[in-house]
């Protein structure tokens, strides 16, 4: 019944399913730049010593697409279409991830929120979850809107 991440070290899996997960990132101890995913050496100033931080769970949609042929050029596609996008976190990082919704649900600049999707059940009976972003219904979708 527990939920486990598809891969450890990328996002939190809150005990309460109603709680939004957060991204596991880093902050440079020297210049303050934030990164996702975690890294030890700062990509901006090369300082060796980033600290663990949690990022998100909201962000703004920088760009998106909707994939109609998921396994383009591979013939044995058996999965449905899905959205993917890049989301700018308020802390700075731009995150590529799956999007929840259809091709008419997305607009550049809209507010997005991280959530978790259950992919399958593992051998121990745990739900294996992956992170994704959904349009944030409560927030304004127009570009330039204030961040929450």
């Amino acid at each position: 019944m527990a939920r486990v991440a598809i891969e450890e070290g990328y996002f939190t899996v809150p005990d309460d399913p109603a709680e939004a997960p957060r991204l596991l990132g880093s902050r440079c101890g020297a210049c303050g730049e934030h990164f996702f995913p975690r890294r030890q050496v700062c990509a901006r100033c090369l300082h060796d010593g980033c600290d663990d931080v949690e990022l998100g769970p909201t962000g703004r949609l920088w760009t998106w697409t909707y994939v109609h042929v998921p396994l383009f050029a591979k013939k044995n596609a058996k999965v449905s279409a899905y959205g993917v996008g890049q989301v700018d976190l308020p802390e700075g990082p731009r995150v590529q991830a799956l999007l929840v919704g259809g091709p008419d649900d997305f607009e550049i600049g809209m507010e997005m929120v991280l959530d978790l999707e259950t992919l399958r059940t593992d051998d121990d009976g745990n739900d294996v979850v992956i992170m994704r972003f959904s349009p944030h219904r409560a927030a304004g979708a127009h570009e330039g809107g204030e961040r929450p």
Partner: protein, 384 residues
Amino acid sequence: MRIEGAAVAGIGMVRFDRYPDRSGAHLARDAGLLALRDAGITLAEVDEAFVGYIQPAAMIGIKAMKELGLTGLPVTHIENASATGLVAFREAAWAVASGRAEVAMAIAFDKMTDMARNAPSRGTGRDQLDSTILPAAYFALWAQRRMHDHGTRPEHFAAIAAKNWNHGALNPLSHRRPDHTVTVEEVLASQLVAEPLTAMMACPADDGAACAIVASTDWVRRHQPDRRVVRPVASALQSEAYSPGHTFLGPVVGPATMTRTTALQAYEEAGLGPDDMDLALCHDAFANEELEYYELLGFCGEGEGERLLDAGDTALGGRIPFNTDGGLIARGHPGGPTGLAMVHEVVTQLRGEAGDRQVHGARRGLAHLVGGGSVCTVNLFETD
């Protein structure tokens, strides 16, 4: 640093296509034999070889080289994702320029059809954290943002794709050689892959091999006195520099702006600029990329790519024809060999041997690729 004293002595390629019954090593052998014949030599005259392939494998480069002979020459496998072929060429050019080799070979082969077939079956596009973004989706993200920023329409992308399909029709070595003039409408009507990109805006999955032989300029002048000598003069290679908006997770080819800084480096090394170029080959795995590169390679200002395209400047007969051989979209993109097919086309054009697709009076050409990971390379060639 400018490449001094190196020239292309020979080129050869196996037309990119699907070759279920031919091994990569045999494709490489055939491309290598063509290049050796074009150079007028055998493998015995080659001092060093760089073998490019992307397919996940070790040691097969040297096994492929053995099909050409066993002369003891140094052989090194070079891999740089989609940029592999040009980077193998860069190594060969520098082996000659540094004096450690008089004659060096860059050879590449790949079978994308095998790679597609053998891809992990769990690759459903969404059940691995680091693999959720396929290349088509990745470049579609660029396209969507460009449409938002500049009002670009899918018709623009379709026009580039149609142009490159039609260029391919003029190239006997193109994978796709349409028997009719491909139209914007036809491209738009093909299968939607990832908003706004359609199947005809994308390169095919194919197999192939290509080879280029570099020698000292003296050697080439001596052995090929009657031929126009084509020289690589700059080969800039860059990986991604950090900038805000960098994405670390998922397949990436780096920010589009990598192309700008890499091109600037190449122009500076060669003492040349975009106005000096007579043709350009770029990474048009997806048609919208080419539009970006018009600007990033310096052929027009930011946001002016559509105008350049609409004016026909980037088609054969225009001011700076792009992807005269059909580009990745028509000529094909097996992976490693792609960059060497570009060398093949630039050299053919600068020699004045491009037949129906000849750019008249072409004296300088540019070859550009980006590769996953991410890298970018811009290579400049000139003839006298």
